[in-house]
Amino acid sequence: MSTTTAVVRKNTYFDSVSLMSVSTKANGLDGVEQAFTAMGTEMNKGVLENLGLLTDELRAAESGDLMIVVVAADGSDTEALLAEVEDLLTRKAPASAGAAEVTYRTVASAAAGIEGANLAVIAVNGAYAAREARKALESGLHVMMFSDNVAVEDEIALKNLAHDKGLFMMGPDCGTAIINNVALCFGNKVRPGSVGIVAASGTGSQEVSVRVHALGGGVSQLIGTGGRDLSERVGGIMMVDGIRALAADPATDVIVLVSKPPAASVEKKVLAEVAAAGKPVVVWFIDGSEEAVTAAGGHFAADSLQAARKAVELAGITGPAVEEFDAGAAAAEVVARLAEGQKYVRGLFCGGTLCDETMYAVRDAGLDVWSNIQKDPGFRLPAGSASRGHTFLDFGDDDFTNGRPHPMIDPALRIERIVEEAGDPEVAAIVLDFVLGFGSHEDPVGTTLPALREARRIAREAGRHLEIVAYVLGTDLDTPSVVAQSDALRAAGVTVTLSSTETGRFAREIAKKAQA
């Protein structure tokens, strides 16, 4: 039995000749027995009724409405046919005969020419990035700005413009976002879910999203605000707008905030939003204090793992039981194998927040730590200087990246350093991170393994045990997967930790015991 399908276009007008051509083309579609276009007048509906073709939809058509009646052959997919007919009606004449897909030259023309375009990813030289972002915002696009080296004045102007238009101005200098389950720039493949993340830290937010996933939860949106958003000058414009957007988002049940500690005035502003969100908000301000967060009604997280755990718990998800890692016992085993003089931990990181988390864990044990991202100038170690004591380097920081790709894309610089550290008889352990996911190197472990073997050979030949600890940030859904990369590390004798937080604890215990 054939079925009637119909499209009714309210008060829509086509030139008679193009209408005729739609009708002819519709008659030529596979699976169409007959197609007919006419206005929805009484008489026309009467004819259809007599033929038994008058559906309810057609019955409701009025004189000024255009009816496209399609009688589909038995067994044909009427939904698909209808879509094809709709397509005939809406198809615009091709802008150029025979030309391939249109390539746009400017953001404005792309925004105007691509129906439904809603977000621009800007990854051009910092000198031009602000301009392109402004054009995008002016064209009504949300912006994810991957570029760094953007002047803070430009950032403020752009964020104010975005705020006025109700748009997102994500970035600069924090290349992570997940919008509608699509990771932009650096990001991991995680399950869709109810945890919304607003983050001023790239790898910090990647870590939280990956932990949430591992704990059985999922991410609704991940909004990267840019590393400077919570500074006094920028004033948290994007984080405030991000919290509000997630507070209003029906798909988000729990909000997680990730940042280095904000400027005091900004913290106040952000915590006021936490109080007003109307949803549970987990706050992980790296190295931040609990009191203010709790006072604002937020849920304080002391580390990334705790942030993810609280979020998942508040979202009502019971994930797989996770075995607690006994960092103390594991560290004791390591230290037992060390030679005389092996005292220090050397952390070589791609992810800034991963570096921070481990560095602070060691520092919190009362030990001195040197770093290129140390806040205390007395312990700051510029790029190019040799390591000292417990050293933690962020290879993603500007003074290392200057002119080069980010170490998540190009790990060459860190590979050299691994071998260099292995030759230092004071080194007890080297701690590394490997960041998987979109935007990252396609096989970061594989490309580093020869250097790890070389490092262990150097130590072995000098009669030392060199402990290599690595954390792989990624999920089972990433390509390559966290499982494969971890297995490859273990096979090379590397101790693989299971979260950034655990990495910090393990490093702290080794440092404490080795130095003791």
Binding site: K92, A93, A95, S96, A97, G98, A99, A100, V102, T103, Y104, R105, T106, V107, S109, A110, A111, I114, G116, A117, N118, L119, A120, V121, I122, A123, V124, N125, A127, Y128, R131, E132, A136, G140, L141, H142, F146, S147, K165, G166, L167, F168, I179, N180, N181, V182, A183, L184, C185, K189, Q221, D241, R244, A245, A248, D249, A251, F438, G439
Partner: protein, 480 residues
């Protein structure tokens, strides 16, 4: 905060839609986003102003709040004037009698101002030919002395309400088109087509060239003058739009336009007071080359664009012209000023026997057609042109689309059937040229670099970016 507001916020709309990304800069992200099933379109991005810091600074100044709005309004005004202009061919006459400022010793040339000693070979050839034609010297040798003597006033056509194709050399007793912009009241002039390849405007100047000029002065010009007296004014914009519908772009391809113009003039030519033999000569002469209407469309464009000159704050280009050494542009908001850069090479197929190194640099006022929005800008109206200038039909379509990115409006009076009757891209905006890094495309003839040989090919060229950078800098100084 309003509780009544039911309109979703842009953020809510984003969360509720399919993600569609415009990717600027890194192609790497294109693949990642596409792999996750989202729409992504990566721009063919180049830094604004080709990365020239002056250009970007000027652009930033012109885009500042307050300034930008003024410019937008001015450009809308300028381009409305160009589009509303209704140029009518109202007659033909001797340059001396109609062109403002013309004297017996004035010689107009194409492009921005240039001194005799700086002119290239073809322009020098045309100038000396014209001096002989005017009887100011007995031969070419003496003509060169006269040219260098300071007795001749050299002036760009554009500064005498005129345009001239190729060398653009126009002297007192040559006949010119008179094109009146009925809407705004201004008038534009241009020389008659000499039809052949070996002609004065291409730098040829032997006796055959001079003889033809004499015939044009004594028969062709006067007959055209009488013809229009019989036919009455001819609506050139209307004929132009018809010619585009018939497959011309009216710069390098003029077959349809010439038929239409001749169709309009033929009854008047027949009724003129000349002998049948002379009429046959004229008909044969017109039939000898499709280019007959080429200058006519130039004057049409000039009459329309001049209406926009002097619109304060406007960044719309009203002139693009080359003198064989320099390419100059003029802008509506800075009347009278030229912004120049070196004339470029024209790239395209050459006539048999010539090589690229034989070609002279880009020359002539004919880029006024592109300034109005046809010629290279309307290549999609003339897909057959690709055989002449090289490239593919898809390229032709692409050129028109690209020109849409640097122009202010689409002229609804002159449309392109193949683009669903989209209007031609009109009103080149200096800011957009700098912003997009897209330079206007010009279809043009290639003249031999030496005097006396003439046209040896046709092709495509662009203005030097430098001219636009200078214009943007001057605009920024004046407006911001």
């Amino acid at each position: 905060m309003s509780t009544e507001n039911t309109e979703p916020t842009p953020a809510a709309r984003l969360f509720a839609s399919d993600l569609s990304v415009v990717n600027v800069g890194l192609a790497l992200f294109d693949a990642d986003i596409a792999a996750q099933g989202a729409q992504v379109s990566t721009l063919d991005w180049t830094p604004p102003g080709g990365g020239n810091a002056d250009a970007v600074r000027a652009l930033d100044a012109l885009e500042r709040a307050g300034v930008a709005e003024r410019i937008e309004a001015a450009n809308a005004e300028a381009v409305e004037r160009v589009m509303a202009a209704r140029p009518m061919l109202v007659g033909f006459d001797r340059a001396l009698d109609v062109v403002p400022g013309m004297t017996p010793t004035t010689i107009l040339h194409s492009g921005p101002p240039i001194a005799w000693e700086d002119m290239n070979g073809p322009m020098k050839g045309a100038v000396t030919g014209a001096i002989v034609f005017e009887g100011l010297a007995k031969d070419l040798e003496e003509a060169a002395e006269v040219a260098a003597s300071g007795r001749i006033t050299f002036k760009p056509c554009h500064e005498a309400d005129s345009v001239g194709s190729m060398a653009g050399v126009t002297s007192a007793s040559m006949y010119v088109h008179i094109v009146r912009n009925e809407t705004h009241g201004n008038t534009a002039f241009t020389n008659l087509s000499e039809q052949m390849a070996k002609i004065l405007r291409m730098g040829a100047n032997d006796q055959s060239v001079i003889d033809r000029l004499v015939w044009m002065r004594d028969v062709f010009g006067p007959m055209l003058k009488e013809a229009v007296e019989f036919t009455g004014p001819v609506d050139l914009r209307l004929l132009l739009s018809q010619a585009l519908h018939m497959g011309d772009e009216c710069h390098n391809r003029n077959g349809a336009g010439t038929l239409l113009l001749f169709q309009a003039l033929a009854p008047g030519l027949l009724r003129s007071s000349f002998t049948t033999e002379q009429k046959k000569e004229v008909f044969d002469f017109v039939a000898s080359s499709d280019y007959f209407s080429g200058p006519t469309w130039m004057a049409m464009a000039k009459a329309a664009l001049d209406a926009a000159n002097g619109v304060a704050d406007s960044t719309v280009v009203t002139t693009m012209a080359r003198n064989g050494v320099e390419f100059g542009i003029r802008v509506a908001g800075l009347p009278g000023q030229w912004f120049t850069g070196p004339a470029q090479r024209v790239v395209g197929p050459m006539f048999a026997g010539y090589k690229p190194e034989d070609s002279g640099l880009d020359i002539g006022d004919s880029a006024i057609t592109e300034t109005y929005g046809f010629g290279g800008f309307a290549m999609s109206a003339a897909p057959a042109i690709v055989a002449l200038v090289g490239g593919t039909v898809a390229d032709a379509m692409g050129y028109t689309r690209d020109m849409g990115e640097i122009t202010t409006a689409r002229n609804p009076n002159v449309t392109i059937p193949a683009l669903d009757f989209q209007g031609i891209p009109t009103g080149i905006d200096v800011r957009k040229v700098i912003d997009t890094g897209i330079l206007p495309v010009i279809n043009t003839a290639i003249a031999h670099r030496e005097a006396g040989i003439g046209m040896i090919g046709a092709g495509i060229t662009h203005p030097p970016a430098e001219a636009f950078t200078k214009a943007a800098t001057a605009l920024a100084a004046a407006l911001a």
